[in-house]
């Protein structure tokens, strides 16, 4: 058990270096064990220093910077120990345009490894979709869904009104 965690931590921490460097160009971030001598019980902490700043404490980061660090951590776990699918419900509303673009670049890379479902209100996030599901409530408090397969690179476009049979 200890070896399994140890190996997993190493892999996630290595991924974190790469993901963090892309989300915070010029910054420094790393994952650390709170008690490296006791692999059985040690907790895991995160240090994050955006470019041009000195502060490393996560609690002093801004709202958007915190979201980005949390995403970096999750994406690192996903890359080190892949799962078949991921479901993210409005994780990017606090990001500005530049950081949203960096987030989407990495999120879109999961396209080849896993299935990614993202709930969003951001137009830019819709642009990375292979398939778009529109959910509406047509006034009577009951949810309906419309599915639209977007233009895929090979040009196939189809629209099927999924939903109630």
């Amino acid at each position: 058990i200890v070896e399994i965690f140890g190996a997993a931590f190493q892999d996630v921490a290595r991924e974190f270096n790469g993901v963090f460097a892309r989300l915070f160009p010029g910054g420094e971030g790393r994952m650390v064990l709170t008690d490296p001598d006791d692999l059985l019980n040690s907790g895991v902490d995160v240090e994050a220093r955006p470019a041009g700043k000195r502060v490393k404490r996560v609690s002093l980061l801004s709202g958007g910077e915190r979201s980005l660090v949390a995403v970096a951590l999750l994406f690192s776990v996903f890359r080190a120990r892949p799962s078949p699918f991921y479901l993210l419900d409005e994780v990017e509303p606090a990001l500005d345009d530049v950081n949203l673009h960096r987030f989407l670049e990495i999120a879109a890379e999961f396209r080849d490894r896993s299935q990614l479902l993202i709930v969003t209100h951001q137009k830019r996030t819709m642009e990375i979709a292979d398939v778009l599901y529109g959910i509406s409530m047509a006034g009577e408090g009951v949810s309906k869904v419309i599915c639209e397969r977007l233009e895929t690179p090979d040009g196939a476009q189809s629209e099927q009104p999924a939903g109630a049979d």
Partner: protein
């Protein structure tokens, strides 16, 4: 392995039978406030075994059953079925497709089934446990929950890595 199809009936605002056909790649879910996007996320977490009513934003588990609207009466049961593509053989079962179904009656009775064969919650949990699916693993990040991975204690972050490995 990926999600192939989701059928919801009577779960929260999905009063009518609603079908989602999924494909690998990136799916983006959009819609107005209150239309049912997070209810869809809850439906997936629920069919995979989520037991906490509070995590599903309700007071008691019965709150997941369609409660009715001014134009429609409440329903007596909620049912969600998730079909997972298993052609890669990751799930320990001899089928290329695996369906997991969960039903809750207003009486409080609850039923599970795998490929239409009634089973217990434990069977569903065992089937999925090695596949890396579920909320504990942060493969499902609910609305407003992203920051929890940073705000939690170092032991909580360790648990995320342990579960994923």
């Amino acid at each position: 392995m990926f999600l192939r199809r989701l059928v919801i009936r009577g779960f929260k605002s999905f009063a009518d039978k609603t079908v989602f056909d999924f494909t690998p790649g990136v799916a983006v879910i959009v819609g107005p406030n209150g239309s049912g996007k997070s209810n869809l996320v809850d439906a997936i977490a629920w069919v995979l075994g989520e037991q906490g009513a509070k995590t599903l934003r309700g007071g008691k588990m019965e709150d997941v059953i369609f409660a009715g609207t001014p134009k429609r009466p409440a329903l007596g049961r909620a049912e969600v079925e998730l079909t997972i593509d298993n052609s890669s053989g990751v799930l320990p079962i001899d089928f290329t497709e695996v369906s997991v179904r969960r039903t809750l009656f207003r009486t409080g009775e609850s039923e599970y089934a795998i490929n239409d064969v009634p089973c217990r919650l434990l069977d569903v949990q065992e089937l999925l446990s090695d596949s890396g699916i579920g909320r504990e693993l942060h493969t499902i990040v609910g609305q407003g929950q992203l920051d929890e991975i940073l705000a939690g204690r170092p032991e909580d972050r360790r648990a995320v890595i342990e579960e994923a490995s």
